[in-house]
């Protein structure tokens, strides 16, 4: 069998190269056949002429025989394809208008799909640019996976896992949450993004530095001065140091701490988290120094590390998971602080089992947030492509009508039906591939624009959306599929060409078969239906964005400037920090233009972890665990006035609420609705829940109620919130030190709050030059919180308009074609006295009925399909009447315009001209 294929292949190649010789041989052989036939007939008694005639009849058409012999070899198929390709390109060059429209349509459709797929590729599919990414796995817990949050571990857990590579595999770690590092030497911060990484991070990932060296084990010792080293990214090296070769050994300050640069990372490496890029990496050992917090390294310190293991060949994920789980209790026990007692918190940690997840594509917060919207947009883009295909198919069919004669002649000359179809299909393929190439250019630009839209003040999104093999394969696949979709109908039509039609004169009524007319009409119907669906989807997303933008914030965002202050380096005793903050706030209030200022732990939509508390109301039965989650914030007195939050009942905080006075709290209306429905909460006492006997809980008295306001998410309904006075921190949070970072919220009397930054800078640096701070207008943060909805609304609106334009072009085309075809009929009717109106109606009737059918079909399908978008919608039902009606109206208007223009032209037909040309 294998010999046969090889032999045939060789013979085919030989024929391709010696074509003339082979043809000559065949001719000679046929001639000999003819001669032999003549001989035989003459022997049977016929004259030479009669014998010749009989022999020729017997032989038949030598051309046809030669063709059949040629087709016996595979190389003829190749030749025919090549011929048809050249024919196709020549044909397209001769009708540049048609080619341009078709290619543009396809470029838009295919390009849009490729653009979004590039982003999907970069976000979901691409593996990390490290050595053997398929060996990597993240150490997580089942709960983290279920809730979709990254698992963080404290230093003690990391050490225990790292020190047993024989059991758990080789491991590396880095900070779970994005770190901001201030590179400024004083005053306003110069923030860059970065990570703390374990000493073996770069080595374990198999990365070689561009220049310099990776960290070594000595530099990863917690708190040692050796750990004051850094590796910068390739990008930072170019941007800030101009790619200088002597950057290794240079000293910079990170969070005001001197640090030496020891290496530059390779250019394609952006970190272990997709969607973020790091500018600077420091060893975990430097964390206590840089953040000035001793807690970082202790066993009970923060859970700030993500841990990744590299499975060795022969080591399976299940066996490593089992090893982790069997050691889980011991590991958690190892995290107990001195004198700390095992409590329900630790029990929970043991019960939530270690789980390994494959991490070849890294981890990604961006992925969690944007996977669903991106896939939705990809589906929308695919639908737009379908509409584009229908358009091009209609265009090709209209053009085919003019080529019927050519095809009939070819058929008469002996071309098989398949050959004719092949020619059409190849034309479609050429159109599609050229369109795809142009589309790739669009995709290049479009994908980068899309990624730029994902960034905001908080997240600088970095995503590699460059063209790789996956995008190319996707685009080629889409191009071929598209060619098949829109090319099949014209190919079928071409193969039905009638040989005898070539010999008759009147081709003017050809192609008017009922079935082809129905087919083109149904294409229009599908286009209109798809456009309706897309318009409805766009409408729903636009209304969702409107709803999200209209969510009452509960505070005024326009006049507020948030100043994130970092007092880590300030020489202030941690116990005295609350008073320090109060002084800072007072100083800032006196800056010109400032009407109110306040300090707080958290500010709205600041993308920080929200402080929560577990409370019970004294004198009441305990509330079930899930019910008693609250948001807690610590603020200074002017906070409510700064944000324009009104006090509904009771009072706010005053100077009388000192550190030694009885602790008081202010609650919001949601809190009252939840815990004191219909009652007066003023004077009620609540207390935090104690998990251990040593845990002192201080009862706090409710003194005031304020209106609800947004915390982080614009979509969540108001959460029960308690506000406490900053100065009373130590009374109510004895176990946690006052944080060295605080946010100042500043209200501007007139004008933009951003203008206050200079005055505030001066004030802050005067108080203490070790303060680091950054400015964020609250309006920007609120806007960023709406970003995802805005992006989806803009994209779906763009595609909706695109679909509508394509459908309009399609309707225009088919109406023009129908008018052109029936010119004779129209002319006769007008000559017989028909009015303009009747003629227009005649031209429109079929198109409009197909469009109406399309609209109905579209509405029914849209009603069935929109429920899958429910997760992305907000405040809008998937069957929202306003959206459906608006979409219908818009489509109706556009369809009317698109069909009316050519139809009115029909009425300008001169009956005399038509009759004369018939």
């Amino acid at each position: 069998m294998r010999f046969r294929v090889a032999r045939r292949a060789l013979a085919g190649i030989r024929t391709l190269f010696h074509r003339d010789q082979v043809e000559q041989d065949l001719d000679e052989e046929l001639r000999a056949y003819l001669d032999a036939a003549i001989e035989r007939h003459m022997q049977a008694g016929l004259s030479r002429e009669a014998a010749t005639r009989a022999a020729r009849i017997e032989l038949g058409s030598t051309t046809a025989i030669a063709q059949r012999v040629r087709e016996a070899g595979w190389e003829s198929a190749l030749e025919s394809i090549w011929q048809d390709l050249r024919l196709a390109t020549r044909g397209l060059r001769r009708s540049p208008g048609f080619a341009l429209v078709a290619i543009l349509t396809l470029a838009l459709g295919i390009g849009a799909n490729s653009a979004i797929f590039s982003v999907v590729n970069g976000l979901l599919l691409r593996a990390l640019p490290v050595a053997a990414p398929e060996q990597l796995a993240m150490v997580s817990t089942r709960q983290s996976i279920d809730e979709g949050f990254p698992a963080g571990w404290n230093y003690s857990v990391w050490k225990q896992i790292h020190e047993r590579p024989d059991v758990f595999g080789r491991s590396l770690s880095w900070t779970v949450f994005p770190q901001r590092f201030d590179l400024a030497q004083s005053g306003e911060t110069d923030p860059v993004e970065g990570l703390f990484v374990s000493g073996n991070f770069f080595d374990e990932l198999g990365l070689s530095m561009t220049i310099g060296r990776p960290f070594n084990a000595r530099e990863d010792v917690l708190g040692s001065s050796d750990s004051q080293v850094a590796i910068i990214s390739h990008g930072l090296w170019q941007r800030r140091f101009g790619g200088a070769a002597d950057v290794v050994g240079r000293r910079i300050t990170v969070e005001r701490v001197p640090v030496e640069i020891v290496g530059v990372a390779p250019p394609e490496f952006f970190g272990a988290e997709v969607g973020r890029a790091f500018d600077i990496a420091l060893p975990v050992g430097a964390a206590p120094i840089v953040r000035n917090e001793k807690e970082w390294g202790t066993p009970a310190g923060r859970s700030f590390l993500a841990i990744m293991v590299r499975l060795q060949p022969g080591q399976s994920m299940t066996s490593t998971t089992a090893a982790l789980r069997s050691a889980q209790r011991r590991i958690i026990e190892g995290t107990l602080r001195a004198n700390e007692i095992w409590g329900p918190f630790h029990e929970n940690q043991v019960k939530d089992p270690f789980t390994l997840t494959p991490a070849a594509t890294g981890t990604s917060e961006l992925r969690r947030q944007y996977t669903r919207p991106l896939i939705t947009i990809l589906v929308i883009a695919a639908v737009v492509l379908l509409i584009a295909c229908a358009n091009v198919a209609n265009l090709l069919l209209a053009r085919a009508a003019a080529r019927d004669r050519e095809l009939s002649v070819r058929r008469a000359l002996g071309a098989t039906r398949w050959r004719l179809a092949q020619q059409m299909l190849l034309e479609s393929l050429v159109l599609s591939l050229v369109g795809a190439a142009a589309g790739l250019l669009l995709a290049f630009w479009g994908s980068r624009t899309l990624v730029a839209q994902l960034s905001n003040w908080f997240d600088r999104v970095t995503l590699d959306v460059s063209l790789d093999w996956r995008v190319l394969i996707f685009t080629s696949f889409v191009a071929i599929l598209t060619a098949i979709l829109f090319g099949t109908a014209p190919a079928l039509r071409a193969s039905m060409a009638n040989a005898s039609a070539a010999l008759t004169e009147s081709l003017s009524h050809r192609g008017a078969g009922r079935s082809s007319h129905h087919f083109r009409g149904s294409l229009v119907m599908i286009q209109v239906a798809l456009s309706v669906i897309l318009l409805v989807a766009a409408g729903l997303f636009i209304r969702t964005f409107q709803r999200v933008a209209a969510v009452p914030l509960g505070f005024s965002s326009e006049h507020v400037l948030v100043v994130d202050v970092n007092a880590t380096r300030a020489p202030v005793d941690p116990a005295a920090l609350p008073d320090f903050y109060t002084r800072v706030t007072a100083t800032v209030t006196s800056v010109a233009g400032v009407t109110h200022a306040a300090a707080s732990l958290n500010t709205p939509v600041n993308h920080a972890a929200t402080l929560v508390g577990d409370f019970n109301v004294l004198g009441r039965p305990p509330v079930p665990e899930r019910e008693r989650r609250l948001i807690a914030n610590f603020v200074t007195d002017d906070w409510f006035a700064t944000y324009g939050i009104s006090i509904r009942q009771g009072r706010g905080f005053t100077a009388a609420d000192t550190a030694t006075a009885p602790p008081v709290i202010v609650v919001n209306e949601a809190f009252v609705r939840k815990f004191f429905p219909g009652q007066d909460p003023i004077g009620q006492v609540i207390a935090e829940i104690a998990y251990t006997p040593e845990w002192k809980t201080t009862p706090r008295t409710i003194v005031g109620v304020v209106n609800d306001s947004i915390d982080q998410s614009l979509r969540a309904t108001a959460y029960p919130t308690v506000y406490q006075r900053l100065s009373q921190w130590s009374a109510v949070m004895p176990l946690m030190p006052v944080p060295a970072q605080i946010s100042l919220s500043v209200r501007a009397g007139t004008g933009s709050p951003a203008q206050l930054s200079r005055g505030i800078t001066t004030a802050l640096t005067t108080i203490d030059r070790h303060l680091a701070f950054s400015f964020h207008p609250l309006a920007d943060r609120v806007s960023a919180a709406r970003q995802q909805e805005r992006l989806v609304a803009v994209l779906s609106g763009f595609f909706g308009v695109l679909a509508l334009s394509l459908a309009a072009v399609g309707l225009y085309g088919i109406t023009s074609y129908a008018v052109a075809r029936r010119r004779a009929e129209i002319g006769i009717r007008m000559a017989l006295g028909a009015q303009r109106r009747d003629v227009v109606q005649l031209a429109l009737s079929h198109t409009l009925s197909w469009s109406a059918a399309g609209v109905m079909l579209g509405v029914i399908v849209a009603a069935g399909v929109t429920r899958y978008l429910a997760a992305l919608l907000f405040g809008v039902s998937p069957l929202d009447a306003v959206t459906f009606v608006s979409a219908l109206l818009l489509l109706a208007i556009v369809a009317a315009l698109a069909t009316l223009v050519p139809a009115r032209r029909a009425a300008t037909v001169d009956p005399m001209l038509v009759l004369r040309s018939e």
Binding site: R7, A32, Y33, E58, S61, A64, R68, G414
Partner: protein
Amino acid sequence: MAPADKTSALVQGTLDMLILRTLALEPMHGYGIGMRLEQISHGAFQVNAGSLFPAFRRLERDGLIKAEWSATENNRRAKYYVLTAAGRRRLAEATREWEAQTAAITRIMRATLGEA
């Protein structure tokens, strides 16, 4: 248009086998093969050039027959086909298959109610 085949249901593979059989007796040129097939089948098969020539090309490509230019009886140049060793083997194989198939079909056609 290609002339219609007058042969009734003569499948490609069967035609190949018949050509091989014809050439097993002696080397022949194209017209002669067609003539011989018609003769031996008593006129049942009249294979025309449109089927023969593609078959020749196929068999030649598969190495079952070999072509030689030679002189006919009338001193004309014609292409003579010769069976190769591989062709002989293929013919024997095809003959065996054919006979087995025919026997099976005959059995089925002649089966009465009593035979299982």
